[in-house]
Amino acid sequence: MSNAQIERQWTSRLRHRVVEKLPPDRLLPDTQPAYVASWIYVFGVTTMAALGIVILTGVILALDGPQWWHSSSLGHFVNSMHLWSVEIFFFAMVVHLWGKFSMAAWRGGRSLTWVTGAVTFLASILAGFTGYVSQTNFDSQWIATQAKDGINSTGGGAFFNVLNLGQMLMWHIVLLPLAALALTGLHVIMVRVKGVVPPFEDNAEVSA
């Protein structure tokens, strides 16, 4: 096979395109612009750290099941870790959102970065709601019976039945975590491709 033929293969073309868009030194940079040295820039990575704990504790809960997390001390502890890491996750994500909104972080061709972040937020809210109804306790039963009226009023109850524990649990532990992780990955890749948005006074650099 000649070099020209190799270069025409989809693997070669895809590799060249990926390396051109995201060279290794931009994917894992050693330094960041000076303006990144601000507390307002730490909440994105705080959100991801919390997401890591959410996934880890969720995996442990899935391994041992509801009887374990309802009845044992360690189960209570891991269940609490899952809850409080979610609290930190949303807390940090909302401050991150406010910070980026105040910076108009979609400037300089960063619209896809903004959109992937916003959709991740929506997927996370849905993951939180399905988590409420997956607890398998009186709290989740109460929340589900209240939520069904809201969902049914939209006509969506036929497809998304909050009283169906199996369906809600699958959404909570499979579909929505996959969506949140994939979107977070895409969001981070977009940040690396386009760089961290600079402050307004450096806007001329952004447009360049």
Binding site: P29, D30, T31, Q32, P33, A34, A37, S38, W39, I40, V42, F43, S73, H76, E87, F91, V94, V95, W98, G99
Partner: protein
């Protein structure tokens, strides 16, 4: 269960929630506290000095 532990919750949460109501707006005190903390964190993040910022040189 928590009563059996030496380190129980710092705040006793074993009671019904408290709510604040203003016309059609109703919010639990717990949610209001979280929102206030988020706003305070946001403002602090904008103005609090970042460690080592002065020693940082230029951009990459």
């Amino acid at each position: 269960m928590a009563q059996g532990w030496g380190l129980g919750a710092l705040i006793n949460l074993d009671h019904y929630g408290h709510y604040i109501q203003w016309h059609v707006i109703q919010i639990s005190v717990a949610n209001l506290i979280v929102i206030i903390l988020m706003v305070a964190t946001f403002v602090a993040a904008l103005f609090a000095p970042f460690p080592g910022r002065r020693n940082r040189k230029g951009t990459k």
